[in-house]
């Protein structure tokens, strides 16, 4: 933020009247500077001061909303360059590009792929969030393509990619109510483009030949009173696109320059030149480094499995570890004879443990209690993964009805709980498992042979 606590203090009445709820004006100012209090809490501030302050304390990077209802996505609003400094806020989104000059069968296949690629991973629905509809040269075919996608049953937000304002005008008529991204403002057409989107406050995609030109263009668009923008840092080369994307975010957050305080759209389909694996590497790169909408040529599980997993990881708040849902999970077709394993609800632990169990191919029931979302030893040390927590999970999860097997395997790192568990779960044979997940298959196979 541009203003310090002392800078804000100078604008307050300095009367320490406590009307804001804080003991002194200085204390209040410090809170405002740190973002913990709203400047409007002070009823004695002059109008000019409030205006000056709200401008200065506004976030450096805007949050832009595209789409509507089920397909509404927030982009941008980031505050740091590296996730460990605080957290990344709004995850990047994936788009697939269609254009009217593609073969119909090609378009149908891509639409079908988008429909097919849909799964849930740790409580998050993974799917293609956007479709880019790119105009090449045939207006009637282009409008027909938009209608086709609209009636296809695809649940996506729209990006209209078109630099011809006349065509954009007609295209917008078709999907205006869906709050699409109108992409294609350049140095020649920006006045007309702003005129098209301003009334409905539709987000506008902005492109230029280089960074300096983009900066001037954004300034000019802002002068028209329009600030609902998405920037395209793209260039012909991967190297230049990467530099532009990094520089935009640095100029914005480090240079505290709001001109570049907008999310980005990157046409990776063009940069990767049709190589799907290169789309994957570039998507990873721009998931880490400042891409907001990543446009691909197609979406399938081959691309999605690594990319959505990485995105989910990177956009986890470092202060709030990912947790799996408490409950019972049957692995490898567990049935009424399968043994039971218990571990913590920390997503990373669960994934590593369940991965090893799956590798063993031995049917197992996993019981996951509420252990606070930490690793085994951390949860245990915090008193959240104790014999009574495990006992409650066994008794309340319904596992005793799911299997007749009364073998309970606990993590090797909490071997100390064995005695207590044997007392609280007298029907169960408590087995101390391995201290490292990599040895689980050996343990399970050994037990299965017996």
């Amino acid at each position: 933020m541009a203003l310090t606590g002392l800078g804000i203090f100078k604008l307050t009445p300095k009367k320490n009247c406590k009307d804001c709820g804080f003991p002194t004006c200085l204390a209040f100012s410090m809170k405002v500077a740190s973002g913990a209090a709203e400047i409007s809490k002070c009823p004695h501030m002059s109008k000019e001061s409030i205006e000056k302050l709200s401008e200065a304390t506004a976030p450096l990077m805007k949050t832009i909303t595209i789409g509507k209802g089920d397909t509404e996505y927030k982009l941008g609003g980031e505050t740091v360059l590296f996730r460990h400094e605080k957290t990344f806020v709004n995850r990047n989104r994936f788009a697939v590009l269609l254009s009217e000059n593609m073969e119909d069968s090609d378009i149908d296949t891509k639409i079908q792929h988008m429909k097919d690629m849909n799964y849930v991973r740790i409580g998050e629905e993974m799917k293609t969030e956007f479709v880019v509809l790119k105009y090449v040269s045939d207006k009637d075919k282009y409008l027909a393509l938009i209608n086709k996608v609209k009636s296809s049953g695809l649940k996506v937000a729209y990006i209209l990619a078109c630099e011809d304002t006349a065509v954009m005008k007609e295209a917008l008529q078709l999907v205006k109510s869906e709050n699409p991204l109108a992409y294609g403002a350049n140095k020649d057409n920006f006045k007309d483009m702003v005129a098209l989107v301003k009334q409905d406050n539709i987000p506008l995609g902005v492109k230029a030949d280089d960074l300096k030109e983009l900066y001037t263009l954004v300034e000019n668009i802002q002068k028209l009173g329009y600030k609902n923008l998405v920037l395209d840092p793209g260039s012909k080369s991967i190297k230049q696109t990467f530099e532009n994307t990094v520089q935009i975010r640095r100029i914005n957050l480090q240079g505290e320059d709001r001109t570049f305080g907008y999310p980005s759209i990157l046409f990776l389909n063009e940069l990767a030149k049709g190589d799907k694996f290169q789309e994957v590497t570039l998507s990873t790169l721009f998931t880490l480094k400042y891409g907001s909408i990543l446009v691909l040529s197609d979406m399938d599980y081959c691309r999605a499995l690594p990319l959505y997993g990485i995105r989910q990881n990177i956009f986890t708040d470092p202060q709030k570890p990912m947790r799996v849902e408490v409950g019972v999970y049957g692995l490898n077709n567990a049935d009424e004879n399968s043994p039971v394993m218990c571990t913590v609800d920390f997503a990373l632990t669960y994934f590593i443990v369940s991965g090893e169990v799956e590798r063993s191919k031995v049917p197992v029931w996993m019981v996951i209690p509420d252990a606070g979302g930490y690793s085994v030893l951390t949860s245990w040390a915090a008193g959240k993964f104790t014999a009574s927590v495990i006992t409650d999970a066994i008794k309340n999860s319904g596992i005793e009805k799911k299997t007749k097997n009364r073998t309970l395997i606990i993590p090797g790192k909490v071997a100390v709980l064995k005695g207590e568990l044997e007392e609280s779960l007298p029907d169960w044979n408590v087995v101390v498992g391995t201290t490292e997940a990599m040895y689980i298959p050996k343990l399970l196979k050994g037990m299965a042979e017996k």
Partner: protein, 314 residues
Amino acid sequence: MFKKPIQKYTGKIGEVEIGTGEKAVKLGGESVLPFYSFDGNTGNTPKIGMEISDVYPEGWTNTLKELYKDVSNDTVKWAQFVEKKYSPDFICLRLVSADPNGKDSSPEDCAEKVKAVVEAIKTPLLVAGTGNHEKDAKLFEKIAQAAEGHNVLLMSAVEDNYKTVAAAGVLAYNNKVVAESSVDINLAKQINILINQLGIGNENVVDNVGCSAGGYGYEYVISTLDRVKLAALTQNDKTLQIPIISPVSSETWKSKESVEPEEEAPEWGNQEDRGISMEVAAAAGVLASGSNAIILRHPKSVEVMRSFISELLG
């Protein structure tokens, strides 16, 4: 006004050379964040190593088993095949047979094997142990001796065994050693300092700060890399100015996404493609966050990552 902020760098990653002769490679040497050529010197191009194993690769995907079917029962032939056909920057020989939970072959036998391989190829060699700290200590002592003069990279020394692995590897037999820690900047620092205290300089050490497949705690890997490189480059932390290697393949190829056969998950499509995709995704991310070398398994992944690196460096 349009103004690019100036990024201040105060440190530089040291260089470590592995191998000998014309094909020797240098890791590290950069004084800016990865691929930030607009900020300054990006150092040596990130290096790509290919993984082979000293036993028949039972757990590898069918296409790879097919690809290597004529050579995978003979480690020397396999190494020569990979060198000739794919010319990777280095070869990673994983001593699967030494695993105490498996065949448990003796350090002497393994050392002989390593000697035969290193003498048969010109490409720099990295020798990966079993992950069992006790066994690795015994293993690397013998291997370091057998590979003396070839400047191989031994992976890895950990807190439990660095005294043996690093001392034998570097001090006694002049090889290089990987210092392994587990996704935490302070642990990375600690193992480096411990190794330094043996009288081993940074020029003999490569760090493995941890690696994972995408979706499996990858955020810890990325944030550790980010933090280590920022500390080394912008705070001039000398204990972290060490090039980093990421063993990508051994993590990604055991993930469910790579292992699940197509019959079990028809909607996921071609298993081999999924495996490559998981491998290149994880590789791209660690390179973008500061790895100076990656270990890969699939030849297609090597090709994709070569092009990724050269495109980004331009």
